[in-house]
């Protein structure tokens, strides 16, 4: 049960991260390595906040 919850959490964050990296790639004009690194970091932050936000919004119900 614990493993399943962890897997779900990791999956949610990864899905958000992938979606936000794609968003970043759409926003920028030219793609190179540093852009990937910065975009991946920003998307990681966004994914963590997305999960935290969803949990905060539903947890009190």
């Amino acid at each position: 049960m614990k493993t399943r919850t962890t897997l779900l959490a990791v999956g949610e964050v990864l899905a958000w991260w992938a979606a936000l990296v794609v968003l970043w790639l759409m926003l920028i004009s030219t793609v190179y390595t540093l852009e990937w690194v910065v975009g991946a970091c920003a998307a990681g932050l966004g994914a963590l906040v997305a999960r935290a936000g969803r949990r905060a919004a539903v947890s009190r119900r």
Binding site: L23, L25, M26, L27, S29
Partner: protein
């Protein structure tokens, strides 16, 4: 003066003119609707301007407006809930017109841009704009049951 700037001038003149008239006069409900429509109409204008000046970087302005404009309307929906609660404003005609203008402008610009990442960016802006404004409009008109103030 190229056609894009001319189109932008028309959109901005009509959009800002009507929303200014709507937001400055009349009951509170109509004013909030006009505020919502101002973002829905200015954003296509900014997109047309970016095409008219052929500066792709100006698209960022439209992106920010498409993101934050509906958020601003939701602020008013939330904090004016008491005043708006009695007779929620219904304005589906103007809302759909504004959404139509946004869709047409984004579609035309996409056709001009051609396939690529720039086109996807335009589509993202269009989706945020139209989705956000329709949602803000529905939240305004009390289309969601059970909304209460905190």
């Amino acid at each position: 003066m190229n056609g894009w700037i001319l189109a932008a001038t028309v959109v901005l003149a009509v959009g800002l003119g009507t929303t200014l008239w709507g937001v400055a006069t009349g009951p509170l409900g109509r004013r909030v609707v006009a505020q919502n429509l101002s973002t829905a109409l200015v954003c296509p204008g900014l997109l047309l301007l970016s095409q008219g000046y052929s500066r792709t970087a100006y698209v960022d302005l439209a992106l920010l407006l498409a993101l934050l404009g509906p958020v601003g309307t939701l602020v008013f929906v939330r904090l004016l809930a008491d005043e708006l609660g009695d007779n929620p404003p219904q304005a589906w005609g103007p809302t759909w017109v504004a959404a139509g203008v946004g869709t047409v402008v984004v579609a035309v610009l996409c056709a001009v841009t051609g396939p690529g990442r720039a086109m996807v960016k335009l589509l993202v802006i269009g989706a945020l704009l139209v989705g956000g404004n329709l949602l803000a409009s529905r939240a305004l008109s009390g289309g969601f049951p059970g909304v209460s103030r905190d």
